[in-house]
Assembly symmetry: D3
Homo-oligomer: 227 residues x 6
């Protein structure tokens, strides 16, 4: 099976420090379930990335350059996960999509962070899923999946078991996103998943068993279907 | 002055071959007007890129990998322009935004193509403009600027002298774009120009004198204002 | 078996565009016959390379720099073939002979283009054959093999089944070569094949079955023997 | 003047986040005083590095690999400082001493972090000072200089205005260092400063004016003389 | 088994030239015994390195830059050994510890020389042993092991079968080392072996059978125990 | 002035060691006369390269891989010269012609060795001369220039003041060259000098004043004219 997993940086790289326990559990499940196919795990930036970007903006540095700091942080995060995976992971962190394709063919899980400023790690994960011809993209965030509306403000928000990409786009356009807020997906990722018809599964990564279920194809979180 | 120029690949790299005359004229104007600031020229793919992508799709290769071929072609195009610029250009083609920033500080015009699959060269140009803190982004295409509607289908379409980014987005959303059609801008580029408040000037690059005017700040084409 | 195959760029990358059908057939035969040994395929530049070099010369750019454009094109051609080969090919295009040796040891077909300006892709193929200790070098061009004289001008020209390197050199020295004409071999390649005693087989690559025969050791085209 | 400055990571990259104000002041003094000579600034890891190393150790990852995470963090820190320095700094962070020498010759301040696991950033600073033939190495920490004994435990500890390398070594050997405690210098750095006879000046980097004084050759902190 | 072997440069790369016979014998034993684990062989500089460093110093070039020449020579030495090992060796010489880890996971013996100026190849070997989690580090020099005192000056010097790292440090501190003399170990290597509790075995590499014994765990030379 | 100088490796890197005095004198003249133009110095392999290649062949390693060792040695030689040149030289040794062009534009002398196996350093020098649009190529060997026949065997051999490329080729074809013997030029170099019409000057590099004269355009050695 070819598979791409996106792990939100804030899940593991938190204000309080690295959540070693959660990282170890994720690593353990990945090692256990890895089947030798093309697997890539894309790790986000989390709190350390946020701190560098904030500092950079405070210094008056432009967004593109500030973003390059965040990309660097995602790569350290990826490196820590690849070390935790040990022999199951390719022991270099690719910085281009070409390298991702190259490493993914060598029978190891490829772990990466961002690629370039101006691309979100969700976008990178979608692109990677396309490049590796993944059968699905698992996106682990800190919420249980996609809701009918914002569960933080709307008490009637309902978790969706399944949603089309088109419908997801509609829901997101209604939810106003302030800068810095967690974004489920961006325009690039939507476009890529749509053109390549790759299903995405949103899970709550706070419980590592959700990752296991999503990999094994059991029902969990929200399934986003291309159509 | 810090400046970024995007040259549409189809202007110069055409079905019939490379338009050497137009390339030489562009190079000549750039050499003449270069003031030692941070200048970057982003070159698109043109017909050769299109041919590789088509072949790749026909071979059943995924979009991300196909796009990587187009990125490679843009870099050859960039290399040809940098050779034509001679001593005025930095003689290496950067493949990351970090390298763009590095080279642009060395007192030469940096010429580049695409950076990664999944980023259009317009998006790269906007990102580069932000990273180099350009005072404007000049976008040379094969039309005279931005019209009120599609001039190919609407005889009443009027060329706009000035338009806001918001208005541009509106016009574009009304114009249906079939795959392969020329796109003036994409979502990423719009977002970057907006957040960094960098004005863009659309010119018809078929007439090299338009490039001169746009660089010198004379009225030409359509000015897209951040607000 | 260790094996190197040179595919003339003009066979596949033609004025009309990429010959997707022929490329697919070559890829299919290579995938089918690959035995896990050190195999490399060296792809030439073809018509796109020619167009860039012509444009470069018209711009007054020196030969060495113009040649570097052609080298870049050969690498895109190589990349397209490696994508078509999929999992059978190493998914990075080496730019140095050291990388060729490195990748070729990893159980995948290595696809490459040129290495440096001033080296023909036939020379690169000979060097690669030596470095990989190939038992033969297959050279696919658009003619059926080596003739006693130029078949285009001499109606009595006869296809040779076998020829020594020394005799080949003699035949070539009699045939005047205008710039741009197809050259069967160059001085460097001759010297390398001679010192390493590697036989070369010239085949007409227009018929992919010839490639199969040459790989399997069946009689086809012209065998060039070291002695 | 050729000059190397080591900035302790904990000065700026603290548990609370990046000390933007202090970073800006350091950048401002460096920009103001830079004379076009070979200058390098070596930035340490600080609290973010510590957090990654701790997490890595908790995951059971070996010291060498854990240290590689810290090296990566120092490079992000270096990048942030180089961005803050703007045009005065070379806009790439060297990862080898050869690159340091290369960049330092181009008329810009080179900012770097660590080079390899197993080398402290003080060791890197000493090596850089030697490679750039610096006339002095300024080491900014969070104490005022070298004391006769540990000022935290000994109320009679006195700040030394001047000390020889040999004497410094003696003082340090008497002070027991628990893991994680701040170390003024290590064996490698001592050896390099000694063989190349480069004086070091320890200053309290918490007050940026100390940096100015040290650069200008005014009396501040502790001067460590080679003999 | 994970294993690191350090081969002293002077054993093979001698004033008289390369000791091809000894190199071949070492390569043969390594090929024969390699078990697919993470193995790295670190090769020193030998006489060629010494000559470059001497020339460099005579030219007044600083130590750090001179050392970079020696590092380059160790990499050529490593390359020669990797060529001699053929398919058993990874065919690229890593220049960073990250690359060592990356290559060592691919089922081939990794051969390397030095990494950075300011690190001895013994230090590199210790670091590599730690990074690969080697169960032992074999150090092949031109003496039979560790002696109670310097055997060249003290007729009563006795070869030790076993010694602790602490005791080794004591012995070394009593032996005065003039510049250029062969050093068994340095401070960095001692620290790394100690913290990672990796045993080292000193053998006389002049007899290749000693290497075999040391790899197979038979009694030979001096065993240096972490405790 | 754009200028390329080829320094025969055997002039400086000799069986006895590095000729530091001669290297210093060459460096001194280059520093003194450098005018800020595009200058490149190509350094050959000399005796160290010969020793590695011999050892490699004795180990049964193929010519292409053996040659890669020689290329590495030329780069160390180049590095030593670049260190001796100090601030006048670009402090990185390019490994591709593209890098040569890139570095040569930065106002420093570029020093390089070989580029790829299968290219002699004379070939590299000719290619570099073409790429930098050098007005001449100075080739420093251990003889006074080109003779009418081999001066070692023919007492009537006369030194030529001037010779055409065509005539040079004739003379060389009459002189039988045993393997390992010094070769004045090869087929590739002849072709490049001819097509780009770059004159070459053969001088005896054993006397550094000859280098000065050749740079300044004074009559010395043999002038090889394109026609």
């Amino acid at each position: 099976m070819n598979l791409v997993i996106k792990i939100g940086g804030h899940l593991i790289f938190r204000k309080e420090g690295v959540d070693v326990k959660l990282l170890r559990e994720h690593a353990s499940i990945l090692r256990e379930l890895y089947d030798g196919g093309r697997w890539a795990v894309v790790v986000g930036g989390g709190d350390f990335a946020r701190k560098y970007v904030e500092a950079s903006r405070n210094l008056g540095i432009n967004e593109a350059a500030s973003d390059s700091l965040a990309v660097q942080v995602t790569r350290i995060n990826a490196r820590l996960l690849s070390l935790a995976l040990g022999d199951a992971a390719y022991q270099a962190i690719p910085a281009t999509l070409d390298r991702v394709r190259e490493y993914a063919a060598l029978g190891k899980i490829v772990v990466l962070g961002g690629l370039q400023p101006g691309q979100s790690t969700v976008g990178v994960a979608a692109l990677t899923a396309e490049a590796l011809e993944a059968e699905k993209l698992i996106i682990a965030t800190d919420v249980d999946g996609v809701y009918t509306s914002d569960p933080k403000t709307d008490p009637n928000a309902k978790l969706l078991e399944e949603v089309t990409l088109g419908k997801l786009q509609q829901i997101l356009s209604k939810t106003s996103h302030k800068a810095g807020e967690y974004k489920l997906i961006d325009a690039i990722a939507l476009k890529i998943l749509s053109r390549s018809r790759i299903p995405a599964i949103y899970i709550n990564g706070g419980n590592p068993e959700n990752l296991r279920k999503a990999i094994l194809g059991e029902k969990i979180g929200t399934l986003v279907k291309p159509e």
